[in-house]
């Protein structure tokens, strides 16, 4: 079994959408090569433990589970940790705004490491090719200069001034428009994207991806949307994000090696990859070794 680096061990890790877990019914999943089980108690709070012999679908009395892993809920999902997690999850303040439609958009298994999936989420260059006619289209293949910084105080990678012309940037978009993006990577396996909202110029839609590292080469992508959209139904909004993700999946699963190489000499970056480079460096500095190919020292 691969060793889990201390940073990864102490992180909060996403494991399921809260409303998909019924009280008293056991769900099982895999996190960092560790089989775990989860349920909710009568008060609705998550209960997570290392799986012993329970089966998926078994009924349990949550009170009887004594040897629990830390658990919390946030942004519609249940999070746990194999180590000592921080007091709070990373912040996404927009989630709390009253008029937003917040929704989980499903969990999709992908046969690739979680950091590869994060990097794909940060990448604008693939829009015209992988999400043709939705998030991008030829002739708009150019990735304009944007800014990237690693914010020390917030301990996150931040890419700003990202601009891309999109034929159909969101469910509510009807014509092509130049969208402006801000990407945050506040957690080694999670990323939050802010994009100009077709309905309200002064505000931004939020799409976040939380990756559950199941093994070093397999993960589950959990998607969150926090939208300002008065017309689309939740089902439509979900379907839209799932379409996008369904397009990424075959590409991601053909990435080789499946773990993200952190040695800058393993792949050829271009200027458009600035955020990916910052992300790789940040992982390296944090000492993350899970799901990556660390730099040979």
């Amino acid at each position: 079994m691969p060793s889990i680096d201390p940073t990864t061990r102490d992180l909060w890790q996403v494991i399921a959408a809260t409303d998909e877990i019924a009280p008293g019914i056991v769900e099982t999943t895999l996190l960092l090569d560790t089989p775990i089980a989860l349920t909710r108690d009568n008060a609705g709070n998550p209960v997570v433990w290392r799986r012993t012999d329970e089966e998926q679908g078994d009924e349990v009395d949550a009170e009887a589970i004594l040897d629990r892993l830390p658990a919390t809920t946030g942004y519609g999902y249940i999070w746990t940790s194999l180590g000592n997690p921080p007091a709070d999850l990373f912040p996404i303040p927009e989630y709390a705004e009253a008029d937003r439609k917040n929704m989980s958009c499903g969990s999709i298994g992908i046969h690739v490491s979680a950091p590869r999936a994060v990097e794909n989420f940060l990448d604008m260059g693939h829009f015209p090719y992988v999400h043709t006619d939705i998030l991008g289209a030829e002739p708009h293949t150019e990735v304009k200069e944007y800014d990237v910084e690693v914010s020390e105080e917030r301990d996150e990678v931040l890419a700003t001034r990202c601009r891309f012309i999109q034929p159909r940037a969101a469910k509510s978009a009807t014509t092509a428009m130049e969208v402006e993006y801000v990407y945050r990577v506040p957690h080694p396996f999670c990323s939050v994207l802010y994009k100009s909202c077709p309905e309200d110029e002064s505000r931004r839609d939020v799409i976040a991806i939380f990756l559950q590292p199941m093994t070093e080469e397999r993960c589950r992508a959990h998607l969150l949307q926090s939208m300002i959209d008065s017309t689309s139904t939740i089902t439509d909004l979900r379907r839209f994000q799932q379409t996008i993700f369904g397009q990424d999946k075959p590409i991601l699963e053909n990435q080789y090696p499946k773990r993200l190489p952190l040695d800058p000499r393993s792949e050829t970056p271009i200027r458009a990859d600035k955020s990916a480079i910052a992300y790789r460096r940040w992982l390296s500095q944090k000492g993350i070794t899970y799901g990556v190919i660390p730099m040979a020292s």
């Binding site: 050829t268 271009i270 200027r271």
Partner: protein, 568 residues
């Protein structure tokens, strides 16, 4: 025998039949994955199955006939060299650097495609290979150690006809040859050849298939009982340091290549074609619009555009105008260089990059200006991208490369002998009104270039949509500044007064400085800048190279800062 990742033996990795038109086959050898594809010129490519950019398998890429396009970000790699020819994220200056995929040796013979883990051994036909009309059997993959597969195949030989073990995991008995392709320590593919095509191919294939299926089942059952050998772990080569760091642009290298004049012919009245071939193998990758500098026997350097299409790297074809007025440049080529002569050329350079994501591309050529545009047209043609080519020749002049142009599928229009005062109107209607993502590329005499620029601007074409290339620097050089240059390697500081070029000052100080055009057009005096702010005035470097502030031409460029530190 244990398998080694670096085993230099040639093994079959596919049948010729596995490589139909515009397909990419996923091959495997000694733990590696290979992308195997046939270009339209028949050449078979065997590459590491991994895009150098983000590692996506190239076996899911798109075979465009002369280039392979990655599905993730649209990077293109050329037939033969596996050099990257286009990076859509930065179409204006891509690819700035020589990015080359890992390739493996390849040979197509006897109905099979052969490859090896490295170039250490030359391909040698197996004993008895010559003189037969080989017939390939269906491949049979087996999950068992290649050595065990070989032993089992040998066991198929009839008692009165013992098997002959051949080098390279192969065995023969009667007219049947079996080759074991070592996929990994515990996986193999059996590839069989019959010395003659059978009378009833279908029945024969079925017969062999049955035999091999039984053999496979037996081998796999046995393999499951044994401990599985460790899989082979091929290492991925690291990209070079300058590809891994992310400079705005790398400084073009001044490498030269020796080529043979393979063919010299009259392409049109006053236009001589030259075919320049590498002495061995292929030439470097180039992009449409690229040129080479030819170092002429008389010491001069001249630039000529490459007319070839995608992936055509066995030779470069250029067109040279045999102008009587020529001051010894092209004239030398036309009059004294003959077939069989050797010439020294630079690596291809591109100051005239073609966007491959336009909705409409208009190419306008005047006279010998057809050369870079012919190459562009060929690239667009191969990728089935919409374009129109307008080729203006004077009355009396004939059309160069006519047959090549007529072989294209785009809209090619020849405008011959259009009176001077009608050229503008013809260009205007060829261009039409601009709409988004249309681009025009023009190459020809100065006045024509101006007409196209003015007409296009008048019809709403923005500056970024009008592309042209200078072979001559027509700009007025501003030499009014005064500053110091520090020559880092020569440990010298010189003062450059207004009115004098850096080059002149260096020569005055006794340095030998190579030069050719001395007007910032040819690239001979390219120099690395270590410090300082450059006032570029050349037409050689492209905008990103200029912006990088890392290189300059000492013949025309000056400093905006008080001091420049140069790597001289």
């Amino acid at each position: 025998m244990t398998l080694s990742v670096s085993d230099p033996t040639w093994y079959p990795i596919a049948s010729s039949e596995d490589l139909p038109f515009r397909h990419v086959y996923a091959g495997q050898l000694l733990g590696r994955e290979l992308a195997v594809w046939r270009a339209d010129d028949g050449n078979v490519n065997v590459w590491e199955n991994r895009c150098l950019h983000r590692g996506v398998r190239l076996s899911i890429g798109i075979n465009e006939g002369g280039e392979l396009k990655c599905q993730y970000h649209g990077w293109r790699y050329a037939n033969r060299s596996a050099g990257c020819t286009y990076i859509p994220a930065h179409p204006a200056d891509a690819p700035a650097r020589r990015i080359q995929n890992r390739t493996y040796p390849v040979r197509e013979a006897y109905g099979l495609i052969w490859s090896a883990a490295n170039d250490e051994q030359a391909f040698r036909p197996f004993p008895g290979a010559e003189g037969h009309d080989w017939f390939a059997l269906r491949p049979m993959p087996v999950n068992a150690a290649p050595e065990d597969v070989l032993a089992a195949l040998a066991g198929l030989a009839p008692d009165d006809q013992p098997a002959d073990l051949l080098p390279g995991l192969a065995v023969r008995f009667g007219g049947t040859y079996y080759f074991v392709q070592p996929v990994d320590a515990c996986r193999a593919v059996i590839r069989g050849l019959l010395a003659e095509p059978p009378a009833e191919p279908v029945a024969t294939l079925r017969h062999y298939n049955e035999t091999l299926t039984k053999l496979r089942d037996r081998l796999e059952r046995a393999a499951r009982k044994k401990p599985a050998p460790e899989p082979l772990q091929p290492a991925f080569d690291k990209v070079s340091a300058d590809l891994a760091t992310m400079p705005d642009i790398a400084i073009p290298k001044g490498n030269t290549i020796t080529v043979v004049v393979k063919r010299k012919w009259t392409s049109a009245d006053g236009v001589i074609g030259f075919e320049l071939a590498a002495r061995t193998g292929h030439l470097p990758t180039f992009q449409p619009g690229a040129h080479i500098d030819i170092h002429l026997p008389n010491g001069m350097t001249r630039q000529y555009s490459i007319t070839n299409g995608p992936g055509e790297l066995m030779s470069y074809i250029i067109g040279v105008k045999a102008e009587s007025a020529s001051k010894g440049g092209s004239k030398v080529l036309v009059e004294t260089v003959r077939e069989g002569d050797l010439l020294s050329i630079s690596e291809p350079r591109n100051n005239f990059p073609l966007r491959r994501d336009a909705t409409r591309t208009v190419l306008i050529a005047g006279g010998i200006g057809i050369t870079p545009l012919l190459s562009m047209a060929r690239f667009l043609d191969k990728s089935s991208l919409p374009y129109e080519l307008h080729y203006f020749t004077r009355a009396g002049e004939t059309v160069a490369f006519r047959a090549d142009l007529e072989a294209l599928h785009g809209k090619v229009t020849f405008h011959t002998g259009v009176p001077r005062d009608e050229i503008g109107a013809t260009i205007a209607s060829a261009l039409g009104q601009w709409s988004m993502a249309q681009h025009v590329y023009v190459c020809g005499p100065g006045p024509m270039l101006e007409t196209v620029r003015e007409t296009a601007a008048a019809q709403g074409w923005p500056e970024e949509a009008i592309h042209f290339e200078y072979f001559k620097n027509d700009k007025v050089i501003d030499n009014s500044s005064a500053f110091d240059v520090e020559l880092a390697r020569s440990a010298m500081t010189l003062h450059v007064p207004s009115g004098k070029t850096i080059m002149e000052v260096m020569r005055d100080a006794g340095l030998t400085v190579p030069s050719s055009c001395e007007q910032g057009a040819c690239g001979t005096c390219l120099t690395t800048v270590i410090e300082g702010d450059v006032d570029h005035q050349d037409v050689y470097l492209n905008n990103s190279e200029k912006a990088s502030n890392r290189c300059m031409m000492t013949c025309v460029s000056r400093a905006k800062s008080a001091r420049l530190v140069l790597d001289i």
